[in-house]
């Protein structure tokens, strides 16, 4: 390995060691079970509640509640699985349950929706436009009387496309009024938005929003679900987290997440400016590599995309091959979601949904940056990618 370049921040981030250490020390000292009624339990439960308030403040949310989960995927699943308890009643009334998700959701939502399908729940996938954006009108057009849940992600994990959550929410309201139905639950996967954009402002109108700690330099295995109002969870147990996420609380995780969230909020503008500078450097650099392209096309500071997640394509060279060859030279990027790399989706689902031709999507890679990324790393990536592309292109 010749270099030490990490450009896969959308997969995960290096945890903030200072914050992690302080969270660890506090949680070691407060070892009680937050549900216990004795002094040790109270000590722990106080820290847990402080963490909750800290995180809500960081989000800028002045209403609703927050529950801590064991990760982003679990946070996504809680509102989805909540539908299961309605199955029997719906069946007895001869009704279906219908959900709408976008065609570009993370596997956490997409795969779980396919699982719900097996229980008889109907699923509609809303296709994005060619730039990877979900049109609010397209979502609204699929709403019908049976629609119980709508899941749209805030920021796409492969392209960085920012979705119009507020616009979608408004049209959900309108559709529900027209159809004279209860407004479908609107769940937003906010995992890639946290730390990059002001969540409260962008996600106005959502009923629930999922977050993951390790995307913002917090610990892995910790997530959170913000809820506008309580939800009867399908997953039952000891009643922790207001009955919505049973299991003894992970005090270290919750505290560390809240500290990382607070810092991300404080640094929001600084990080955004940093990400834009890196984006500019990357986008300019790519134009100098013959044959390489940005997927979808975008300009620096394009308001439709977060600057820190960029998909590129090197036609004629498989994305997997590029990732492998760069890795040999000490450069970490990915072909898309790390989760999908494991799940081994046969095709590039998200790019395909956008109508990206197969030879371009097959050759696509994702570059994502973060707080510690330097311009030098971008330069090394560009230089090495260009060299490998020239050598390995077939």
């Amino acid at each position: 390995m010749t270099h030490d370049v990490y450009l896969d921040w959308a997969a995960t981030t290096p945890a903030d060691s200072e914050l992690m250490r302080s969270a660890l020390e506090i949680s070691l000292a407060s070892y009680g079970n937050p549900s216990s009624s004795h002094w040790a339990g109270k000590q722990a439960s106080n820290i847990l509640e402080e963490s909750r308030q800290r995180f809500l403040a960081a989000l800028g949310m002045n209403h609703g509640s927050l529950i801590f989960t064991a990760g982003g995927t679990e946070a996504d699943h809680i509102p989805m699985l909540a539908l299961l308890k309605h199955l029997k009643r719906a069946a007895s009334q001869g009704k279906n349950i219908h959900i709408i998700i976008s065609g570009i959701e993370h596997a956490a939502i997409d795969c779980q929706a396919r699982m719900l399908q097996k229980t008889g729940i109907e699923v509609t996938w809303v296709a994005p436009d060619t730039r990877g954006h979900i049109m609010p009108e397209a979502v609204a057009s699929h709403i019908r009387k049976e629609t119980a849940l709508i899941c749209i992600m805030a920021v796409n994990n492969e392209t960085g496309a920012i979705q119009n959550i507020r616009g979608i929410s408004t049209l959900i309201d309108d559709a529900a009024r027209t159809l004279k139905i209860k407004r479908p639950w609107f769940h937003v996967d906010g995992i890639q938005m946290l730390g990059k954009l002001p969540v409260a402002e962008y996600c106005l109108g959502a009923d629930s929003i999922a977050f993951s700690a390790h995307k913002i330099r917090g610990p892995k295995g910790t997530g959170a679900l913000w809820l506008s109002r309580p939800l009867e969870s399908f997953v039952c147990g000891g009643g922790q987290e207001k009955g919505m996420r049973p299991g003894t609380e992970n005090l270290f995780g919750a505290l560390a997440f809240s500290l990382a969230g607070e810092k991300a909020q404080q640094m929001l503008e600084t990080y955004a400016a940093h990400a834009q500078a890196l984006e500019l450097r990357l986008l300019e650099g790519v134009t100098r590599i013959k044959g390489a392209m940005v997927v979808p096309e975008r300009k620096p500071k394009d308001s439709g995309f977060v600057p820190s997640i960029i998909s590129l394509s090197f036609p004629g060279l498989g994305g997997e091959t590029m990732v492998r060859a760069l890795s040999d030279r000490g450069i970490a990027i990915s072909t898309g979601s790390a989760c999908s790399s494991r799940y081994k989706e046969k095709e590039r689902r998200i790019l395909k949904a956008m109508g990206v031709p197969e030879d371009i999507s097959f050759s696509a890679v994702r570059v994502s940056t973060g707080a510690l990324t330097s311009e030098h790393e971008i330069d090394i990536f560009l230089e090495q990618a260009e060299d490998l592309y020239r050598r390995l292109k077939t």
Binding site: G318, E320, T321, R324, A325, D328, K344, K346, L392, T394
Partner: protein, 410 residues
């Protein structure tokens, strides 16, 4: 305590002139695989008898079930040739079966020692009587038995039930050596298994095209090789770095011929390896018409790169049957792991189905791949998968350490 296995050799019994040689091969194969435990292997006409410590019985059974040339295996009781002793052993066996819930049985006797007082029929009848008297839950049913008590009266008497099948076929090595083209797919491990049952000793070749294919793809082939080693009794895997050959082919002007050219180059390399290791044949997992490169015309082209016979045991086998075999021999679950092999990435959008033979031979020559192929062969890595690796691959780690050392090529 020792456990005795009665081993029935199969097809080699039908050989006439060179039967001795086949028997010797089989004995040698069994001995080689049993290396590391205490055993006695006795050979008699039409039978082998293997005696091992009771604690090694599972392991010995595994060995025998994977040793081509073995038709059937049964755990047997050896007894003096006295009727009473034989009946006692039969009752012992029957009582075990009854304990497992069996109700009906029959008895079959083979008497090669004609001096024994009872004839085959008489011995069977006596045994049936003795067993039903001793064990009231059992009755004789010659048409639909739950188990068969078999009695062989020869040098000694042997009594057993439940013969389990061996792989059948011919002992490994009795038909010389072959080079197996092994990819990570479903077919080629099955082809290797089938030919090892026909007595071929195999060495496998894998063409690695890093970074176009991943390290995981190679590891997958290594895992397949380890499993195949159970049947072949150890397996060499040649990992040939083929990236430069592939790149040179890709630089050619006829994209539609890429896959064909690659297969021709692979056959050329396999031919070179065959001559180095003195192999007489090349084995592939090709099945007629399964993919574009496996049409008769395309097979002719790859065949033309070698003067050795290319054996394709799957040529007329339906994919479902191949999958069933792959499942049975334990390679399927590895083969379906999602690591692409080079052919997948490299395949043209519109491959040639009916190429012009002369035209493509000429195109192959014009690519001038010889020096790249030679370089690839020079850089090839030879990895040995011992019988111990095979045992590990099948979860029999307890015995795997016996085979830690590499093997010397035959």
């Amino acid at each position: 305590m020792r456990t005795l296995f009665l081993i029935k050799p199969g097809e080699i019994e039908l050989k006439l002139g060179n039967k001795r040689e086949f028997v010797h091969r089989l004995k040698e194969q069994i001995q080689k695989r049993l290396h590391g435990i205490h055993f006695d292997l006795e050979e008699y006409p039409g039978r082998f008898f293997l005696s091992v410590e009771a604690q090694d019985a599972d392991f010995a059974l595994f060995i025998l079930q994977h040793c081509p040339g073995v038709n059937g295996i049964a755990q047997a009781i050896k007894s003096e040739k006295q009727t009473e002793r034989i009946l006692q052993a039969a009752i012992e066996i029957a009582s075990k079966e009854a304990g497992r819930g069996a109700r009906r049985f029959k008895v079959e006797t083979r008497r090669s020692d004609k001096s024994f007082p009872l004839d085959s029929y008489g011995m069977s009848a006596a045994t049936g009587n003795a067993v039903t008297q001793a064990l009231s839950s059992l009755s004789v049913d010659v048409h639909n038995p739950d188990f068969v008590i078999e009695i062989e009266i020869r040098e000694r008497a042997y009594i057993y039930a439940n013969t389990s099948p061996g792989p059948r076929g011919l002992p490994v090595g009795s038909q010389g050596k072959g080079v197996l083209l092994l990819s990570g797919g479903i077919d080629s491990p099955v082809a290797g298994y089938m030919m090892s049952r026909r007595g071929l000793a195999l060495e496998a070749v894998y063409f690695h095209t890093y970074p176009y294919t991943s390290i995981e793809a190679q590891q997958k082939v290594e895992r397949l090789a380890a499993r195949l080693a159970a049947w072949t009794g150890g397996l060499y895997l040649w990992v040939v770095p083929f990236t430069e050959v592939q790149q040179k082919i890709a630089k050619g002007l006829r994209e539609e011929a890429n896959t064909l050219m690659l297969r021709m180059a692979m056959m050329k390399a396999a031919d070179a390896i065959a001559s180095r290791i003195k192999a007489r044949t090349i084995v592939t997992g090709e099945s007629l018409g399964q993919v574009a490169s496996q049409t008769a015309e395309n097979l002719r082209l790859s065949q033309s790169m070698t003067s050795l016979p290319v054996l394709r045991p799957l040529i007329g086998i339906d994919k479902e049957e191949t999958i069933a075999t792959a499942r049975r021999i334990g390679t399927y679950d590895i083969s379906i792991l999602p690591y692409e092999d080079c052919c997948v990435l490299f395949s043209p959008k519109h491959p040639l189905l009916k190429p012009n033979f002369e035209d493509l031979r000429a195109y192959y020559s014009s690519l001038e791949l010889e020096s790249e192929i030679l370089k690839a062969l020079d850089k090839a890595e030879e990895k040995f998968f011992s019988f111990g690796d095979a045992l590990k691959a099948y979860g029999l780690d307890r015995y795997a350490n016996f085979w830690n050392t590499g093997s010397i090529r035959e």
